[in-house]
Symmetry: C2
Subunit: 406 residues, 2 copies
């Protein structure tokens, strides 16, 4: 569905036997590209290697492994990341400067480069336009399901496609900044890996701008555990194989359709990440509205999104508006108890300083048993609002993360 | 051990049958007093009622219940808190203005005042100098053990005592401000209740100052879950029954001994709170040192103290320095991977950009199996440091908080 791209995945032995752990994305022709990377002060070798490549606006391939983050691995880690790029470049007969490298997994262990080297020829052989599903599985760590989103585009009568693939599922709270240093920092934080591929013809500037526009309502509005990874990477490639005039910006013919498609794919993948959060059983959309300022809306919604007491209550389907109020009240936002309204999918459980009656609370409990619901906290202190999407904190979250599975 | 104070506790039926849930502290004579209360924007009725009383610097009694926080209960909640004070005042034949009220438990349910009223006469009858142990049990919610700390004082040859009693054990991240509004706000946040009683003669100013001095290294340096309660209250009373000249400030005869004793009792109780954290199996002392500024030391240590990934690793005795580095690295503090050193009780697991060898990591794992250990994160970026004490995040934390026990 996206012409000119092929994908592959093999079992290299980085993870336990029986699981795909090495993947490749290849564009027949060098593609326009943009990348956003973690703002964590501690950055993995593949991030340090790939960031300047993406800043150039051109890319032809991405080689990616799971099971090992190649983070905090010193000079050897940097050399290993470069060797990974070299393996792909030699196999594909392209410039290593056009190969990005991504890794996700355990921090601080040397990459088993011998196994990756041994697997590289198969990775090249198995490249196929139909390989996206395998690639999506190869980048999984504690993820339970592969994550793919697609949009078909109509660019002034000319069909094109946009596909995205992503992995989570712990250490998720993406805060990304563009590879190019000429743009403002986002808020930042996850190991999230996201790859978007389109055959639409798009200039690097438009790719970066479309991602910038898409981030606030997608990856910058989700959290699993509030921890930001050393390896978060979001890469988009546009190879123009669909033909037609190049989309230079939002105002170009097809620009608004393309920007909209990037927004939809990013939002779709972001929701899939929360749905597959470590141990997660609920996708909880939080809306702080009526805040006295933009920052207060952020503080109030974030305090609830990260509160272990709110998140365990969501897990237990306990309509515990008190914990939500406590979190918002200690966030630093202006909160007046008598004004605040809290509702679950429109069922108002707290208003005018008092909780709803038992029957209403029972209805709210039914809402919280659903796999996805919305919590609205109306501070009635102003006109600012912020949405944030969080997972619940379950027994399985603790089980999964009290011993990281190899 | 503290002359002129008596204590009592009864089963009023606020909690489930079979558990003490109503307590009383009484000083034979009106005492000098000081109080610090939650900085949450949402404040429970007993906090709103007691704060101005403590600002006056005088108090004679505290009536306290567990099982119901009397928070978010509207005008009826305020009236109920006043009635609680009145019950104690009438029974004790003292001015209601000298009676503070504290509550802890479920938020948003009306206080069962009829049961408290029915139990009040027994509460007065059972007052005894030996009742502190019962009182300590009566204020427990999800606490597993009562928490008491005592110091014997030698005030220029004159013996005096200081005793403290406290309860946790969830929604713990105390951030308190003094009842008097003429002092700076602390950082602020728990339902923590702490009562300190001394028979030393101390002026209200010195009480407030001694608590202010004690807070940074005690209640303001601990967290369980990062959530700050609507009900946090810290009250100290000094009735002077030990005799001697009044301690007006640190420089007064006996001042330094008294301030030191307050510091020790607060630190002792704060550590007991973390040791009895909801589901907690470890007391983890975190030290961020070598930070580039005071704020960066705070940010780095707090990021680790609140990180679900670090806290689940502590639970699993996993010496996962990577998660610690990730949390510090995304905290906003200046962190250079090649400079940071991370150690567990002196066993250095990460330095010069690389992890220690397997044998050292195995030694670190043994450290993490202990019930208490210290994690040092040396950023080597400056001269600032901050200690913070946190619990681990266990399966039982989730079990306890996914359904709040009545």
């Amino acid at each position: 569905m996206v012409k000119g791209f092929s994908f592959s995945a093999v079992e290299a032995g980085v993870k336990k036997p029986g699981r795909l752990d090495l993947g490749l994305i290849f564009s027949e022709k060098p593609a326009a590209a943009a990348g956003f990377f973690t703002t964590n002060a501690v950055q993995a070798a593949p991030v340090l290697l790939s960031r300047p490549k993406l800043a150039s606006g051109r890319l032809q391939a991405v080689i990616v492994n799971s099971g090992n983050a190649n983070a905090c691995t010193g000079p050897k880690g940097m050399a290993d990341a470069e060797k990974m790029a070299g393996l792909a470049a030699r196999g594909l007969k392209i410039d290593p400067g056009l190969v990005a490298v991504c890794s996700t997994g355990v921090i601080g262990r040397p990459l088993p480069l011998d196994r990756i080297t041994a697997a590289a020829p198969r990775l090249i052989e198995e490249l196929s336009p139909d390989g996206l599903g395998s690639l999506a599985r190869a980048i999984m760590t504690t993820d339970k399901v592969p994550k793919i989103a697609t949009v078909e585009l109509d660019l002034a009568g000319r069909p094109a496609g946009l596909v995205g693939v992503a992995k989570g599922s712990g250490m998720i709270h993406p805060m990304l900044e563009p590879a190019a240093q000429d743009e403002a920092r986002g808020l930042p934080q996850a190991t999230m890996l996201v790859f978007l591929m389109t055959d639409a013809p798009v200039a690097p500037f438009a790719l970066r701008e479309a991602l910038s526009d898409a981030l606030p309502a997608s990856f910058h509005s989700i959290t699993v555990d509030g921890d930001t990874s050393t390896n978060d990477s979001l890469i988009i490639m546009a190879n123009g194989a669909a033909g037609g005039p190049v989309i230079e910006d939002f105002g170009s013919p097809g620009g608004s359709a393309f920007y909209g498609a990037v927004g939809r794919v990013c939002r779709d993948l972001a929701l899939q990440l929360v749905a597959d959060a470590d141990g997660g059983t609920k996708v909880v959309t939080l809306l702080a509205k009526g805040a006295g300022s933009e920052m207060e809306a952020d503080m109030a919604v974030m305090a609830v999104a990260l509160s272990p007491l709110c998140k365990t209550a969501f897990f237990g389907a306990d309509p515990n508006w008190g914990r939500i109020l406590v979190a918002a009240g200690s966030s630093g936002a202006r909160v007046e108890t008598d004004k605040v309204e809290i509702s679950f999918d429109g069922v108002t459980v707290f208003a005018q300083g008092l909780p709803a009656d038992q029957r209403t609370l029972a209805a709210a409990e039914e809402v919280l048993k659903k796999p996805a619901f919305k919590v609205t906290i109306d501070l009635k202190a102003g006109d600012f609002e912020r949405e944030f999407i969080t997972s619940d904190l379950s027994l399985d979250y603790v089980r999964i993360n009290s011993k990281y599975p190899a």
